[in-house]
């Protein structure tokens, strides 16, 4: 297989994976924010809170926020330089494999099941809206 063909195939697979992930996450009716809250408490609550910065940054207003942009929080240089804005698709990829999305990041915790990721994102979207204006 030529190198060019291998690269094209690799990129096609990545694009397909991203599209599948986005499609799954966009099934808003299927995502369960209530279950996502329970998952958040158990899986994310060791380091994160919605409204306060802890070991990890706060999640209020995460969707629509530029990555690595909370003033005063000690992000990895990699995340601070990531240059993208969090949306459902990016957050899904981050939760699936943070190192693949932002090499050099510090979170290193992934969420293996796509349904869990979708529920977490649904919760974060809801929590971000409900806590708006608190800070």
């Amino acid at each position: 297989m030529s190198e060019v063909r291998a690269i094209v195939l690799h990129r096609s697979r990545r694009s397909l994976l991203a599209a599948l992930l986005a499609a799954a996450i966009c099934e808003a009716g299927a995502a369960d924010a209530g279950r996502g809250e329970q998952l958040y408490e158990a899986r994310c609550g060791g380091c994160h809170s919605i409204d306060t910065d802890r070991v990890g940054p706060r999640h209020a207003g995460l969707l629509g926020r530029k990555a690595g942009s909370i003033e005063g929080f000690d992000y990895s240089p990699a995340l601070r330089a990531a240059g993208f804005t969090w949306d459902g698709e990016r957050l899904g990829r981050w939760l699936a494999d943070p190192e693949a999305l932002v090499p050099g990041q510090r979170m290193n915790v992934s969420v293996g099941h796509i349904a869990d990721r979708a529920d977490l994102i649904a919760y974060l979207a809801r929590a971000g809206r409900s806590s708006a204006g608190k800070r």
Binding site: A42, R43, G45, R106, V109
Partner: protein, 190 residues
């Protein structure tokens, strides 16, 4: 055999790291290879520093609980014991990070932890223990979650041992709070 501890409020607030070096030694004893450079060591140090941040926060949380005056025996005894475990974890992580040539993250101020953990909202002993249980469960899952990311297998074992301690803490706190234990197997780190 585990060391016998006689927790007191004074001991809670003033415990030094002197008696905890044994834990660091024990943890590092199984990983002499950490003193040498290897590919991915920097990434492993980053993970350990996140873990250290968790331990700093847990020590702060139990300190806030003690100073709140809300804890009475046996809740205070449990908190004293668990804070001592977190101090041992802290010392072991600092020793490991430094042995690997990294720089260990520092603890934040108690006021910072009070704000981050919304300590002002704690009104009862149950509130304090509920917060502790939440943090212990989160730490359990965080440690389990980072195990696959370590480049050095000895550090994966360290994370597993830390997770075991946190799981024990959560179980004891859940029991003290009268909660049911998980009805299903494999609920941690899922």
């Amino acid at each position: 055999m585990p060391a016998t501890l006689t927790p007191t409020r004074r001991g809670f607030l003033g415990a030094s790291a002197t008696t905890l070096s044994a834990a660091a030694v024990a943890m590092l004893a199984g990983a002499p290879q950490l003193a040498r450079a290897y590919g991915g060591a920097s990434a492993d140090v980053n993970i350990l520093n996140v873990a250290l941040g968790l331990e700093h926060e847990a020590i702060g949380a139990y300190e806030l609980g003690a100073r709140s005056g809300l804890l009475t025996k046996p809740g205070l005894d449990v908190a004293v014991l668990f804070q001592s475990h977190h101090k041992a974890h802290r010392d072991a992580l600092v020793a490991t990070i430094e042995k690997m040539g990294g720089t260990a993250v520092k603890s934040r101020s108690l006021d910072d932890y009070a704000m981050a953990l919304s300590a002002a909202s704690l009104k009862t002993q149950a509130d304090v223990l509920t917060l502790a249980a939440r943090l212990e469960l989160g730490a359990t899952n965080a440690y389990l979650g980072v195990i696959p990311s370590f480049k050095e297998p000895a550090l994966a074992k360290v994370a597993a041992r830390l997770a075991a301690d946190e799981t024990m803490h959560w179980t004891a706190l859940a029991t003290t709070l009268g909660r049911s234990l998980p009805g299903n197997a494999l609920t941690f780190g899922a």
